[in-house]
Symmetry: C2
Amino acid sequence: MNITIDVNNFMMEQIGEEHGLRRPELNGLVPRVRSIHAGLQEARKNGAIGFYDLPQQDITGVQQAADAIAEKFDTLVVLGIGGSSLGPRALMSALRHPLHNMLDREKRGKRPRIFFLDNVDPDSHQALLDILDLKTTCFSAISKSGTTAETNAQFLIFVDRLKKELGDKWTEHLVLTTDRKKGNFRKIADDEGIQNFEIPGNVGGRFSVYTPVGLLPAAVAGIDISALLAGASAMAERCQSDDLWENPAYLNAACHYLMDVRKGKTMAVMMSYSDGLLNVADWFRQLWAESLGKRKSIEGKDVFVGPTPIKALGVTDQHSQLQLYAEGPNNKVFNILRVEEFNQSLAIPKGYDDMPDIAYLSGHDMGELLRAERDATMFSLTRRQRPNCSITLPKVTEETVGQLLYMLEVQTAVSGGLYNIDPFDQPGVEMSKQFTYGLLGRQGFEEKKQEMDSTKPGKDDLVL
Amino acid sequence: MNITIDVNNFMMEQIGEEHGLRRPELNGLVPRVRSIHAGLQEARKNGAIGFYDLPQQDITGVQQAADAIAEKFDTLVVLGIGGSSLGPRALMSALRHPLHNMLDREKRGKRPRIFFLDNVDPDSHQALLDILDLKTTCFSAISKSGTTAETNAQFLIFVDRLKKELGDKWTEHLVLTTDRKKGNFRKIADDEGIQNFEIPGNVGGRFSVYTPVGLLPAAVAGIDISALLAGASAMAERCQSDDLWENPAYLNAACHYLMDVRKGKTMAVMMSYSDGLLNVADWFRQLWAESLGKRKSIEGKDVFVGPTPIKALGVTDQHSQLQLYAEGPNNKVFNILRVEEFNQSLAIPKGYDDMPDIAYLSGHDMGELLRAERDATMFSLTRRQRPNCSITLPKVTEETVGQLLYMLEVQTAVSGGLYNIDPFDQPGVEMSKQFTYGLLGRQGFEEKKQEMDSTKPGKDDLVL
């Protein structure tokens, strides 16, 4: 089962000259895409970029460890933020029962409940502590660098609780996923003999879903990670061509790029018409924003580029965002996630035949209603000259989700080339970290605190 | 306890001339805001706009009904979409235990679990059916018009199940919230003798959180709706002034408006530094988008206006969106939701003193870390000349949340005036509904189906 993309509604034939693309415009990008492709493949071969080859990895170790965790524990708590949480979250939502954590163990296929703590809100942490039994809980802390403030704080809190509750056995309730060679978590894992998994040095957080970051929690939950990687492999084959007319990731990237820089569509809405795929849009939101939102070009010039990714949910957001999408400024592209067949069918029964607004629904399936609303919305956006494209999954399975995530990663990498920026760094988040250190009194950052103190406005200014 | 707004970081003194506002610009809006205020108060007095006066309503009936439901049922399922779900969801997340539905009844204060079904995804519906016991479940269907396709489909499904499971007693497991006088749900409620609540005719869905739409589920869950409305009342008093320098809702509206139309900040990010308030940002997303995203001006001219609201979560999105926010195009304003004191304190214990990236965290509280990251992020955005403002809640309580939602409603109403559009209609969603009818074969919409069929691109076009 192949996923497909459809970019017809990006074209002037469908949405007119002002907002639509012409084929020659896309043709004009063919040579550039070819050269970006060559550069990426070069970096892949020399080991600078690692995500491309993850589908070919040997997963025996991860699978065995996951099965052992599933056997031994009733709950897995993932401690991590950003890519350390968004990837596995997306897999869980797409591929497990929507209320997985509320099912009893039998109905969960004897697999643990999975919780993600990806913020430092004390109320959320205490809430989880209220329902956790540490004796049957395993914690999986994920940080490539071992310097992530949020994960380190969580780590200190839960290690402390584990030690108090379990004594020497605390290390058995902990798994670390971190860099192969360096960093604090690597040292802790080695020093204390804690089970651990490796993130390759050439794979960044937002591209790490096919490392143990995504695979371990997924496998613990019972997701078939072998099928997932098979899907990714299949997409890797489809993305081998350097011709944007043949490579779905490249065609999508080229369209999105032109829409942003030539047509002023500065926002890219990924609208999932499936509850389960909404977290894929959330995962993509990081991938797209952090990879493409950049100040400096490759040559170091100020460019301040990057489309703003927005996640939305169909049909729900038709009752929240559609008014704006349809009638507001024409400054967005819409990327519709379509699912052709849902796992469940749910017939809408007969009733209230005398009420036309109810009666017409009888005899249809809920999935049919969802699909009709989805296609009607795409059509109405097209009628209003709003550029929209779609990605269709015949069904949501390990195989199709595996394809989808891999395609979006490839799309992001080539988009970096189109924007002429480095899609693999994130220099912009450093400043905020340094001011945080200053506020928390970390040694060496006293000046940062002073800088903040000295630039506060007067107390009575513009505060109501 | 008053919430406060702070718009200093919108001003040129803080973020420079290119991106910042000058006080004279805001002063220039004073007369217009005064006149918009007069118009809104006129419409309020003549009964055209109802949301202003909701805090003064008598809630005895809703409270009694809610207590009876809480006593009799173990689960409440809310069937509704858009405003029918976003308001009560926001209240639940902000004011109940973060894992309310996973607690046992005793720990929930003997209050029911609350589920919201606000999509038509069959997989989500079946998932909920997997864990529901209909004998102890009450369904609350909400639709002002009674024409909402999604809610009507849900209604047919659950009425059918209730009848099969409970026979004649099915009506006792159902509550309807709908228009006072007209529509299908009104007729059904009257004909079948189903308990029901009224949405005033002059209150639209997105302004309905202080009608039984929001209040009933909240009260069932044990939220103090009297304190909530007291908070709203307190804010109503603070919003009486027609002077934008004295009215927090007006000052915020004026700043946001100028940022959009004069400074090109087309996106308004509401970033909640509290897990519990994230759904307030989601509620606001509908309020802002559906109210302000309009094609036609009051005079009927094409204007295509409206800022795009985006919800974000701090600190989580610092590891997802901050790179873009800080270094991408300077085309957004940031509205930071700040909470000064969390409900729980959670100390970060000592440990790993030899690792500087971990050690500096010891001795701080999780809430302190969150606040430091938040203020550091605001400061770094300011340093990069990115306009940001904040709304501070001393603590998240019924009273402060009551203030917050009311303020944002008033802000939205006056913003409609500034954009010179009608903030209370939503004409843009109709087209998509009609095409849906066409696809589902509803009588009278055959032409819509034909229109869609006749404009499809060729099968092989731009599909990969």
